[in-house]
Protein backbone atom coordinates (compact mmCIF):
# COMPACT_ATOMS: atom_id res chain seq x y z
CA UNK A 1 0.00 0.00 0.00
CA UNK A 2 1.11 3.54 -0.69
CA UNK A 3 2.05 5.90 2.11
CA UNK A 4 -1.02 8.10 2.14
CA UNK A 5 0.15 10.71 4.62
CA UNK A 6 1.05 14.01 2.97
CA UNK A 7 4.54 15.47 3.15
CA UNK A 8 3.08 18.56 4.79
CA UNK A 9 1.45 16.57 7.56
CA UNK A 10 4.66 14.62 8.03
CA UNK A 11 6.85 17.63 8.28
CA UNK A 12 4.99 19.35 11.11
CA UNK A 13 6.34 18.18 14.45
CA UNK A 14 4.09 16.47 17.00
CA UNK A 15 3.30 18.50 20.11
CA UNK A 16 6.39 18.59 22.30
CA UNK A 17 4.41 17.83 25.42
CA UNK A 18 2.63 14.72 24.20
CA UNK A 19 4.78 12.35 26.25
CA UNK A 20 4.25 14.48 29.37
CA UNK A 21 0.53 14.33 28.77
CA UNK A 22 0.54 10.54 28.67
CA UNK A 23 2.76 10.37 31.74
CA UNK A 24 0.55 12.75 33.73
CA UNK A 25 -2.54 10.70 32.98
CA UNK A 26 -1.03 7.71 34.81
CA UNK A 27 -0.41 9.71 38.00
CA UNK A 28 -2.45 10.58 41.06
CA UNK A 29 -2.83 14.02 42.60
CA UNK A 30 -1.15 15.92 39.81
CA UNK A 31 -1.20 19.69 40.15
CA UNK A 32 -1.32 20.87 36.59
CA UNK A 33 0.16 24.21 35.69
CA UNK A 34 0.30 22.93 32.15
CA UNK A 35 -3.10 23.98 30.86
CA UNK A 36 -3.65 27.29 29.13
CA UNK A 37 -7.22 27.71 30.24
CA UNK A 38 -9.08 29.36 33.09
CA UNK A 39 -10.02 27.12 36.02
CA UNK A 40 -13.26 29.07 36.39
CA UNK A 41 -16.46 27.78 34.88
CA UNK A 42 -18.13 30.00 32.31
CA UNK A 43 -20.18 32.66 34.19
CA UNK A 44 -23.62 31.20 34.71
CA UNK A 45 -25.60 33.93 32.96
CA UNK A 46 -23.71 33.11 29.75
CA UNK A 47 -24.62 29.43 30.11
CA UNK A 48 -28.25 30.32 30.86
CA UNK A 49 -28.50 32.44 27.73
CA UNK A 50 -27.14 29.56 25.69
CA UNK A 51 -29.39 26.94 27.31
CA UNK A 52 -32.40 29.17 26.68
CA UNK A 53 -31.44 29.54 23.01
CA UNK A 54 -31.26 25.75 22.67
CA UNK A 55 -34.68 25.43 24.30
CA UNK A 56 -35.96 27.92 21.75
CA UNK A 57 -34.63 25.75 18.93
CA UNK A 58 -31.47 27.74 18.22
CA UNK A 59 -29.56 24.72 16.99
CA UNK A 60 -29.18 25.46 13.28
CA UNK A 61 -26.37 26.88 11.19
CA UNK A 62 -25.84 30.58 11.64
CA UNK A 63 -24.76 32.99 8.89
CA UNK A 64 -21.15 32.24 7.86
CA UNK A 65 -19.86 35.41 9.40
CA UNK A 66 -21.68 34.77 12.67
CA UNK A 67 -24.94 36.10 14.08
CA UNK A 68 -25.54 39.78 13.45
CA UNK A 69 -26.08 40.88 17.08
CA UNK A 70 -22.78 39.28 18.12
CA UNK A 71 -20.84 40.98 15.31
CA UNK A 72 -22.49 44.29 16.14
CA UNK A 73 -21.60 43.84 19.80
CA UNK A 74 -17.98 42.91 18.99
CA UNK A 75 -17.68 45.94 16.74
CA UNK A 76 -18.97 48.28 19.47
CA UNK A 77 -16.80 46.62 22.07
CA UNK A 78 -13.59 46.93 20.01
CA UNK A 79 -14.38 50.55 19.32
CA UNK A 80 -15.19 51.35 22.96
CA UNK A 81 -12.30 49.44 24.53
CA UNK A 82 -9.44 49.67 22.08
CA UNK A 83 -10.46 52.52 19.78
CA UNK A 84 -10.55 50.44 16.59
CA UNK A 85 -13.48 50.47 14.20
CA UNK A 86 -14.39 47.44 12.11
CA UNK A 87 -17.47 47.15 9.97
CA UNK A 88 -19.33 44.13 11.39
CA UNK A 89 -20.77 43.30 7.95
CA UNK A 90 -17.64 43.42 5.81
CA UNK A 91 -14.56 43.28 8.03
CA UNK A 92 -15.35 40.61 10.59
CA UNK A 93 -15.83 36.82 10.82
CA UNK A 94 -16.82 34.96 13.98
CA UNK A 95 -14.58 31.88 14.09
CA UNK A 96 -14.45 28.55 15.88
CA UNK A 97 -12.02 29.77 18.49
CA UNK A 98 -8.97 31.89 17.73
CA UNK A 99 -7.37 28.65 16.51
CA UNK A 100 -9.57 28.64 13.42
CA UNK A 101 -9.12 32.39 13.01
CA UNK A 102 -5.37 31.89 12.99
CA UNK A 103 -5.56 29.08 10.44
CA UNK A 104 -7.80 30.92 7.97
CA UNK A 105 -5.85 34.15 8.43
CA UNK A 106 -2.60 32.42 7.53
CA UNK A 107 -4.14 30.50 4.65
CA UNK A 108 -5.78 33.63 3.30
CA UNK A 109 -2.45 35.39 2.85
CA UNK A 110 0.19 32.68 2.34
CA UNK A 111 1.52 31.52 -1.01
CA UNK A 112 4.14 28.77 -1.45
CA UNK A 113 7.54 30.27 -0.78
CA UNK A 114 6.27 33.06 1.46
CA UNK A 115 8.03 33.56 4.75
CA UNK A 116 6.02 34.39 7.86
CA UNK A 117 7.94 35.63 10.85
CA UNK A 118 6.83 34.18 14.18
CA UNK A 119 7.77 35.99 17.39
CA UNK A 120 9.01 33.33 19.83
CA UNK A 121 8.61 31.90 22.40
CA UNK A 122 5.06 31.41 21.29
CA UNK A 123 1.98 29.30 21.37
CA UNK A 124 2.69 26.01 19.58
CA UNK A 125 0.30 26.44 16.62
CA UNK A 126 1.77 29.35 14.70
CA UNK A 127 4.67 27.67 12.92
CA UNK A 128 2.77 24.45 12.01
CA UNK A 129 -0.14 26.51 10.61
CA UNK A 130 2.31 28.42 8.41
CA UNK A 131 3.86 25.16 7.21
CA UNK A 132 0.45 23.64 6.47
CA UNK A 133 -0.41 26.70 4.40
CA UNK A 134 2.71 26.15 2.30
CA UNK A 135 4.71 28.97 3.84
CA UNK A 136 7.95 28.96 5.77
CA UNK A 137 7.91 30.02 9.42
CA UNK A 138 10.88 32.18 10.40
CA UNK A 139 11.36 32.48 14.16
CA UNK A 140 12.45 35.73 15.77
CA UNK A 141 13.38 35.56 19.42
CA UNK A 142 11.95 37.79 22.12
CA UNK A 143 14.56 37.93 24.84
CA UNK A 144 14.26 37.88 28.61
CA UNK A 145 16.44 40.98 28.88
CA UNK A 146 13.78 42.81 26.84
CA UNK A 147 11.05 41.46 29.14
CA UNK A 148 10.16 39.16 26.24
CA UNK A 149 8.87 42.02 24.10
CA UNK A 150 9.42 41.92 20.35
CA UNK A 151 12.17 44.40 19.48
CA UNK A 152 12.09 46.16 16.13
CA UNK A 153 15.82 45.61 15.47
CA UNK A 154 15.50 41.87 15.97
CA UNK A 155 12.46 41.80 13.73
CA UNK A 156 14.37 43.71 11.07
CA UNK A 157 17.13 41.06 11.07
CA UNK A 158 14.57 38.37 10.28
CA UNK A 159 12.98 40.22 7.36
CA UNK A 160 13.92 39.00 3.87
CA UNK A 161 12.56 39.77 0.39
CA UNK A 162 10.30 36.72 0.84
CA UNK A 163 8.72 37.92 4.07
CA UNK A 164 4.96 38.30 3.81
CA UNK A 165 3.74 38.66 7.37
CA UNK A 166 4.65 38.82 11.04
CA UNK A 167 2.71 36.85 13.66
CA UNK A 168 2.65 38.28 17.16
CA UNK A 169 0.76 37.42 20.33
CA UNK A 170 0.63 39.95 23.17
CA UNK A 171 -0.17 39.63 26.04
CA UNK A 172 1.99 36.64 25.36
CA UNK A 173 1.60 32.96 25.90
CA UNK A 174 3.98 31.73 27.41
CA UNK A 175 5.85 34.74 28.83
CA UNK A 176 3.05 37.05 29.97
CA UNK A 177 4.84 39.88 28.15
CA UNK A 178 2.82 42.90 27.07
CA UNK A 179 3.58 45.31 24.22
CA UNK A 180 2.79 48.92 25.07
CA UNK A 181 1.87 51.46 22.44
CA UNK A 182 5.45 52.66 22.02
CA UNK A 183 6.71 49.07 21.63
CA UNK A 184 4.13 48.45 18.92
CA UNK A 185 4.99 51.71 17.16
CA UNK A 186 8.58 50.57 16.72
CA UNK A 187 7.40 47.26 15.26
CA UNK A 188 4.90 49.12 13.06
CA UNK A 189 7.74 51.09 11.44
CA UNK A 190 9.42 47.87 10.32
CA UNK A 191 6.15 46.34 9.14
CA UNK A 192 5.20 49.42 7.13
CA UNK A 193 8.70 50.05 5.72
CA UNK A 194 8.89 46.50 4.38
CA UNK A 195 5.28 46.39 3.21
CA UNK A 196 4.39 43.48 5.50
CA UNK A 197 1.17 42.23 7.03
CA UNK A 198 0.74 41.84 10.77
CA UNK A 199 -1.26 38.96 12.23
CA UNK A 200 -1.95 39.91 15.83
CA UNK A 201 -3.39 37.26 18.18
CA UNK A 202 -4.77 39.30 21.07
CA UNK A 203 -6.78 36.60 22.83
CA UNK A 204 -5.31 37.59 26.21
CA UNK A 205 -6.02 41.31 25.71
CA UNK A 206 -8.43 41.56 28.64
CA UNK A 207 -5.88 39.95 30.93
CA UNK A 208 -3.64 43.01 31.05
CA UNK A 209 -2.94 43.83 34.67
CA UNK A 210 -1.41 47.27 34.51
CA UNK A 211 -2.71 49.94 32.20
CA UNK A 212 -4.92 49.01 29.27
CA UNK A 213 -4.17 46.73 26.38
CA UNK A 214 -2.77 48.40 23.26
CA UNK A 215 -4.20 46.76 20.16
CA UNK A 216 -1.91 46.53 17.15
CA UNK A 217 -4.71 47.62 14.81
CA UNK A 218 -5.03 50.88 16.74
CA UNK A 219 -1.47 51.94 15.87
CA UNK A 220 -1.27 54.52 13.12
CA UNK A 221 -0.71 52.95 9.72
CA UNK A 222 -1.31 49.39 10.91
CA UNK A 223 -5.06 48.95 10.60
CA UNK A 224 -4.95 48.44 6.83
CA UNK A 225 -2.22 45.83 7.17
CA UNK A 226 -3.34 43.95 10.27
CA UNK A 227 -5.41 40.85 10.83
CA UNK A 228 -6.70 41.10 14.36
CA UNK A 229 -7.58 37.86 16.14
CA UNK A 230 -9.38 37.74 19.44
CA UNK A 231 -11.91 35.56 21.24
CA UNK A 232 -13.84 34.69 24.35
CA UNK A 233 -11.95 31.64 25.66
CA UNK A 234 -9.63 33.34 28.11
CA UNK A 235 -11.45 36.47 29.28
CA UNK A 236 -14.83 34.79 29.73
CA UNK A 237 -13.61 31.30 30.71
CA UNK A 238 -15.17 29.88 27.55
CA UNK A 239 -12.47 27.58 26.15
CA UNK A 240 -14.80 24.70 25.37
CA UNK A 241 -17.34 26.84 23.53
CA UNK A 242 -14.89 27.63 20.72
CA UNK A 243 -15.73 31.24 19.87
CA UNK A 244 -13.22 33.69 18.44
CA UNK A 245 -13.25 36.36 15.77
CA UNK A 246 -11.12 37.72 12.98
CA UNK A 247 -11.13 41.35 11.90
CA UNK A 248 -9.32 42.61 8.84
CA UNK A 249 -9.67 45.02 5.93
CA UNK A 250 -12.42 43.87 3.54
CA UNK A 251 -10.24 42.21 0.85
CA UNK A 252 -8.36 40.06 3.36
CA UNK A 253 -11.51 39.38 5.37
CA UNK A 254 -13.32 38.22 2.21
CA UNK A 255 -10.52 35.74 1.49
CA UNK A 256 -10.59 34.40 5.05
CA UNK A 257 -14.39 34.19 4.93
CA UNK A 258 -14.23 32.08 1.78
CA UNK A 259 -12.00 29.54 3.53
CA UNK A 260 -14.21 29.68 6.64
CA UNK A 261 -17.29 28.97 4.50
CA UNK A 262 -15.76 25.86 3.03
CA UNK A 263 -14.04 24.37 6.05
CA UNK A 264 -16.18 25.47 9.01
CA UNK A 265 -19.40 26.94 7.66
CA UNK A 266 -20.04 28.75 10.93
CA UNK A 267 -18.92 28.88 14.54
CA UNK A 268 -21.07 26.91 17.03
CA UNK A 269 -24.49 28.59 17.29
CA UNK A 270 -24.91 28.12 21.04
CA UNK A 271 -21.44 29.44 21.71
CA UNK A 272 -22.21 32.59 19.77
CA UNK A 273 -25.22 33.22 21.99
CA UNK A 274 -23.12 32.77 25.13
CA UNK A 275 -20.47 35.13 23.75
CA UNK A 276 -23.10 37.77 23.03
CA UNK A 277 -24.37 37.52 26.60
CA UNK A 278 -20.76 37.90 27.74
CA UNK A 279 -20.42 41.20 25.89
CA UNK A 280 -23.81 42.41 27.05
CA UNK A 281 -23.77 41.43 30.70
CA UNK A 282 -20.51 39.67 31.45
CA UNK A 283 -18.19 42.58 32.16
CA UNK A 284 -18.43 42.40 35.96
CA UNK A 285 -17.82 38.65 36.15
CA UNK A 286 -14.92 39.01 33.76
CA UNK A 287 -13.37 41.78 35.83
CA UNK A 288 -13.65 39.64 38.96
CA UNK A 289 -11.80 36.80 37.28
CA UNK A 290 -9.10 39.16 36.02
CA UNK A 291 -8.65 40.57 39.53
CA UNK A 292 -8.31 37.03 40.89
CA UNK A 293 -5.67 36.14 38.27
CA UNK A 294 -3.72 39.19 39.30
CA UNK A 295 -3.83 38.16 42.97
CA UNK A 296 -2.66 34.67 42.04
CA UNK A 297 0.08 36.05 39.83
CA UNK A 298 1.42 38.10 42.73
CA UNK A 299 1.38 35.12 45.09
CA UNK A 300 2.85 32.67 42.61
CA UNK A 301 5.62 34.86 41.20
CA UNK A 302 6.67 35.84 44.73
CA UNK A 303 6.79 32.13 45.56
CA UNK A 304 8.88 31.26 42.50
CA UNK A 305 11.42 33.98 43.22
CA UNK A 306 11.55 32.96 46.88
CA UNK A 307 12.43 29.34 46.08
CA UNK A 308 15.16 30.32 43.60
CA UNK A 309 13.40 30.25 40.24
CA UNK A 310 13.90 33.81 38.99
CA UNK A 311 10.80 35.13 37.30
CA UNK A 312 9.96 38.62 36.08
CA UNK A 313 6.47 39.86 36.91
CA UNK A 314 4.30 39.05 33.88
CA UNK A 315 2.10 41.99 32.94
CA UNK A 316 -0.57 40.00 31.16
CA UNK A 317 -2.10 36.58 30.35
CA UNK A 318 -2.00 33.92 33.09
CA UNK A 319 1.45 32.45 32.69
CA UNK A 320 4.63 32.77 34.71
CA UNK A 321 7.82 31.97 32.82
CA UNK A 322 10.60 31.42 35.33
CA UNK A 323 14.14 30.52 34.41
CA UNK A 324 15.42 27.13 35.57
CA UNK A 325 18.98 27.81 34.43
CA UNK A 326 20.34 28.06 37.98
CA UNK A 327 19.22 24.53 38.79
CA UNK A 328 21.65 23.25 36.14
CA UNK A 329 18.91 21.18 34.54
CA UNK A 330 17.75 21.72 30.97
CA UNK A 331 14.09 22.75 30.93
CA UNK A 332 12.90 19.47 29.36
CA UNK A 333 14.60 17.44 32.06
CA UNK A 334 13.39 19.81 34.77
CA UNK A 335 9.78 19.49 33.61
CA UNK A 336 9.94 15.73 33.25
CA UNK A 337 11.57 15.11 36.63
CA UNK A 338 9.27 17.61 38.36
CA UNK A 339 6.29 15.71 37.01
CA UNK A 340 7.71 12.29 37.92
CA UNK A 341 8.99 13.20 41.38
CA UNK A 342 6.57 15.84 42.61
CA UNK A 343 3.54 15.42 40.34
CA UNK A 344 3.58 19.03 39.22
CA UNK A 345 2.93 19.51 35.51
CA UNK A 346 4.60 22.45 33.74
CA UNK A 347 5.50 23.02 30.10
CA UNK A 348 9.21 23.10 29.20
CA UNK A 349 9.97 26.40 27.48
CA UNK A 350 11.98 24.95 24.63
CA UNK A 351 8.90 23.30 23.10
CA UNK A 352 7.57 26.85 22.66
CA UNK A 353 10.51 27.97 20.54
CA UNK A 354 14.22 28.64 20.92
CA UNK A 355 13.55 31.74 23.01
CA UNK A 356 11.91 29.56 25.62
CA UNK A 357 15.03 27.53 26.37
CA UNK A 358 15.92 27.23 30.06
CA UNK A 359 12.46 28.35 31.12
CA UNK A 360 9.27 26.63 32.13
CA UNK A 361 5.74 27.81 31.51
CA UNK A 362 3.46 27.69 34.52
CA UNK A 363 -0.19 28.59 34.06
CA UNK A 364 -1.41 30.15 37.29
CA UNK A 365 -5.07 29.74 36.34
CA UNK A 366 -5.49 27.28 39.21
CA UNK A 367 -6.71 27.80 42.78
CA UNK A 368 -4.54 29.68 45.26
CA UNK A 369 -4.31 26.53 47.38
CA UNK A 370 -2.98 24.52 44.44
CA UNK A 371 -0.51 27.28 43.58
CA UNK A 372 0.81 27.30 47.13
CA UNK A 373 1.13 23.51 47.09
CA UNK A 374 2.87 23.62 43.69
CA UNK A 375 5.43 26.12 45.02
CA UNK A 376 6.03 23.87 48.03
CA UNK A 377 6.60 20.83 45.84
CA UNK A 378 8.87 22.76 43.48
CA UNK A 379 10.95 23.96 46.43
CA UNK A 380 11.28 20.37 47.62
CA UNK A 381 12.23 19.30 44.11
CA UNK A 382 14.96 21.94 43.82
CA UNK A 383 16.33 21.10 47.26
CA UNK A 384 16.51 17.37 46.57
CA UNK A 385 18.07 17.83 43.12
CA UNK A 386 20.76 20.38 43.96
CA UNK A 387 24.32 19.18 44.31
Amino acid sequence: MRDFVSRRAKVIPPSGIRKFFDLALTMEEVISLGVGEPDFSTPWNLCEASIYSIEQGGTSYTPNRGIQPLRDAISRWLSGHYGIDYNPDTEMVVTTGVSEGLDIAIRAVTDPGDELIVAEPSYVSYAPCVTLAGGTPIPVECLEKDHFKLRADRLMEAVSPKTKAVIINFPNNPTGAVMRQEDLKAVADVVIDHDLLLISDEVYSELTYTGTHASAAAIEGLRERTILLNGFSKAYAMTGWRIGYLCAPKEICDAALKIHQYVMLCAPAMGQVAALEGLRRGEEEKNKMVQEYRVRRNLFVEGLNRIGLPCHLPEGAFYAFPSVEKTGMPDLEFAECLLKEEHVAVVPGSVLGQGGKNHIRCAYAVSRADLAEAVKRMAHFIASNSC
Binding site: F21, V35, V295
Partner: protein, 163 residues
Protein backbone atom coordinates in the same frame (compact mmCIF):
# COMPACT_ATOMS: atom_id res chain seq x y z
CA UNK B 1 -11.46 54.06 50.52
CA UNK B 2 -9.63 53.24 47.28
CA UNK B 3 -9.21 50.30 44.88
CA UNK B 4 -6.73 48.60 47.22
CA UNK B 5 -9.10 48.85 50.20
CA UNK B 6 -11.85 47.29 48.11
CA UNK B 7 -9.52 44.48 47.06
CA UNK B 8 -8.54 43.82 50.70
CA UNK B 9 -12.22 43.70 51.70
CA UNK B 10 -13.02 41.28 48.91
CA UNK B 11 -10.10 39.02 49.83
CA UNK B 12 -10.99 39.06 53.52
CA UNK B 13 -14.68 38.48 52.89
CA UNK B 14 -13.71 35.34 51.06
CA UNK B 15 -11.11 34.21 53.58
CA UNK B 16 -10.68 36.18 56.80
CA UNK B 17 -7.73 34.02 57.85
CA UNK B 18 -5.32 35.54 55.34
CA UNK B 19 -2.42 37.15 57.16
CA UNK B 20 -1.41 40.76 56.52
CA UNK B 21 1.78 39.52 54.88
CA UNK B 22 -0.11 37.24 52.51
CA UNK B 23 -2.54 40.05 51.74
CA UNK B 24 0.40 42.37 51.07
CA UNK B 25 1.77 40.10 48.33
CA UNK B 26 -1.67 39.59 46.83
CA UNK B 27 -2.55 43.27 46.75
CA UNK B 28 0.92 44.59 45.81
CA UNK B 29 1.26 46.54 49.08
CA UNK B 30 3.65 46.45 52.01
CA UNK B 31 2.77 44.46 55.13
CA UNK B 32 2.74 47.66 57.16
CA UNK B 33 0.38 49.34 54.70
CA UNK B 34 -2.02 46.38 54.90
CA UNK B 35 -2.01 46.50 58.72
CA UNK B 36 -2.81 50.23 58.69
CA UNK B 37 -5.55 49.85 56.12
CA UNK B 38 -7.21 46.98 57.99
CA UNK B 39 -7.03 48.90 61.26
CA UNK B 40 -8.69 51.87 59.58
CA UNK B 41 -11.41 49.67 58.08
CA UNK B 42 -12.06 48.15 61.51
CA UNK B 43 -12.07 51.60 63.10
CA UNK B 44 -14.62 52.82 60.55
CA UNK B 45 -16.74 49.73 61.33
CA UNK B 46 -16.61 48.72 57.68
CA UNK B 47 -15.09 45.44 58.84
CA UNK B 48 -17.60 44.36 61.50
CA UNK B 49 -16.23 40.98 62.52
CA UNK B 50 -14.25 37.98 61.32
CA UNK B 51 -16.40 34.91 61.06
CA UNK B 52 -16.70 31.43 59.57
CA UNK B 53 -19.30 30.06 57.21
CA UNK B 54 -20.42 26.69 58.52
CA UNK B 55 -22.66 24.17 56.86
CA UNK B 56 -24.59 23.22 60.03
CA UNK B 57 -26.55 20.56 58.21
CA UNK B 58 -23.29 18.76 57.52
CA UNK B 59 -22.18 19.26 61.10
CA UNK B 60 -25.35 17.32 62.02
CA UNK B 61 -25.81 19.51 65.04
CA UNK B 62 -29.55 19.09 64.91
CA UNK B 63 -30.29 22.81 65.04
CA UNK B 64 -33.21 24.49 63.33
CA UNK B 65 -33.22 27.77 61.47
CA UNK B 66 -36.16 29.82 60.29
CA UNK B 67 -36.94 32.96 58.39
CA UNK B 68 -39.61 35.04 60.17
CA UNK B 69 -41.54 37.69 58.31
CA UNK B 70 -43.07 40.45 60.40
CA UNK B 71 -45.68 43.02 59.51
CA UNK B 72 -45.09 45.96 61.79
CA UNK B 73 -46.86 49.26 62.49
CA UNK B 74 -44.14 51.90 62.26
CA UNK B 75 -43.78 54.42 65.06
CA UNK B 76 -44.09 58.16 64.64
CA UNK B 77 -40.62 59.79 64.51
CA UNK B 78 -38.80 56.45 64.75
CA UNK B 79 -40.27 54.35 61.92
CA UNK B 80 -39.06 50.77 62.36
CA UNK B 81 -35.80 51.59 64.12
CA UNK B 82 -36.82 51.21 67.77
CA UNK B 83 -38.63 47.93 67.34
CA UNK B 84 -35.79 46.63 65.18
CA UNK B 85 -33.35 47.59 67.91
CA UNK B 86 -35.36 45.58 70.48
CA UNK B 87 -35.60 42.55 68.19
CA UNK B 88 -31.88 42.65 67.42
CA UNK B 89 -31.06 42.23 71.12
CA UNK B 90 -32.35 38.63 71.14
CA UNK B 91 -29.52 36.12 70.90
CA UNK B 92 -31.76 33.89 68.74
CA UNK B 93 -31.97 36.56 66.03
CA UNK B 94 -29.00 36.05 63.71
CA UNK B 95 -29.89 38.66 61.16
CA UNK B 96 -32.54 41.30 60.80
CA UNK B 97 -33.49 43.38 57.81
CA UNK B 98 -36.10 45.93 56.76
CA UNK B 99 -37.38 44.96 53.33
CA UNK B 100 -39.80 46.20 50.70
CA UNK B 101 -42.84 44.12 49.74
CA UNK B 102 -45.75 42.56 51.57
CA UNK B 103 -44.04 42.46 54.96
CA UNK B 104 -41.61 44.78 56.72
CA UNK B 105 -38.97 43.04 58.82
CA UNK B 106 -37.21 39.80 58.03
CA UNK B 107 -35.52 37.85 60.80
CA UNK B 108 -33.19 34.90 60.57
CA UNK B 109 -33.71 32.92 63.77
CA UNK B 110 -32.03 29.76 65.05
CA UNK B 111 -32.96 27.34 67.79
CA UNK B 112 -32.29 23.80 68.95
CA UNK B 113 -35.63 22.38 67.86
CA UNK B 114 -38.64 23.45 65.85
CA UNK B 115 -40.54 23.87 69.11
CA UNK B 116 -37.82 26.18 70.35
CA UNK B 117 -38.22 28.43 67.36
CA UNK B 118 -42.03 28.32 67.53
CA UNK B 119 -41.96 29.17 71.26
CA UNK B 120 -39.57 32.06 70.69
CA UNK B 121 -41.83 33.53 68.02
CA UNK B 122 -45.09 33.05 69.92
CA UNK B 123 -43.79 34.08 73.34
CA UNK B 124 -41.42 36.93 72.52
CA UNK B 125 -41.96 38.26 69.02
CA UNK B 126 -45.69 37.98 68.29
CA UNK B 127 -46.89 39.66 71.52
CA UNK B 128 -44.71 42.75 71.03
CA UNK B 129 -46.48 46.02 70.51
CA UNK B 130 -46.80 47.10 66.90
CA UNK B 131 -46.29 43.61 65.49
CA UNK B 132 -49.39 42.97 63.40
CA UNK B 133 -48.59 39.61 61.86
CA UNK B 134 -45.87 36.96 61.83
CA UNK B 135 -45.10 34.17 59.36
CA UNK B 136 -42.52 31.54 60.19
CA UNK B 137 -40.68 29.62 57.46
CA UNK B 138 -38.53 26.75 58.68
CA UNK B 139 -35.40 26.40 56.53
CA UNK B 140 -35.32 22.91 55.05
CA UNK B 141 -32.06 23.04 53.13
CA UNK B 142 -29.43 25.68 52.46
CA UNK B 143 -28.04 25.64 48.95
CA UNK B 144 -25.92 28.75 49.05
CA UNK B 145 -24.77 30.95 51.93
CA UNK B 146 -22.80 34.16 51.68
CA UNK B 147 -21.46 33.33 48.24
CA UNK B 148 -20.56 29.75 49.20
CA UNK B 149 -22.33 27.14 47.12
CA UNK B 150 -22.98 24.21 49.51
CA UNK B 151 -24.12 21.79 46.85
CA UNK B 152 -21.53 22.50 44.18
CA UNK B 153 -20.25 19.38 42.48
CA UNK B 154 -16.61 18.72 41.76
CA UNK B 155 -15.70 20.51 38.53
CA UNK B 156 -15.27 18.39 35.42
CA UNK B 157 -11.91 16.84 34.64
CA UNK B 158 -9.45 19.23 33.06
CA UNK B 159 -6.70 18.06 30.78
CA UNK B 160 -3.27 18.07 32.45
CA UNK B 161 -1.74 19.79 29.42
CA UNK B 162 -3.02 21.74 26.46
CA UNK B 163 -2.93 21.71 23.51
Amino acid sequence: MDEKDLLLLRLLEENSRLSPDELAIMAELSGEDVRCRIAALEEAKIIRSYTTIIDWERAANGGVAAIIELKVNPERDYGYDRIADRLAKFREVKSLRLVTGVYDLQLHVTGKTMQDVARFVSEYIAPMDRIRETATHIIMKTYKENGQNFCEKEPGERLPYSP
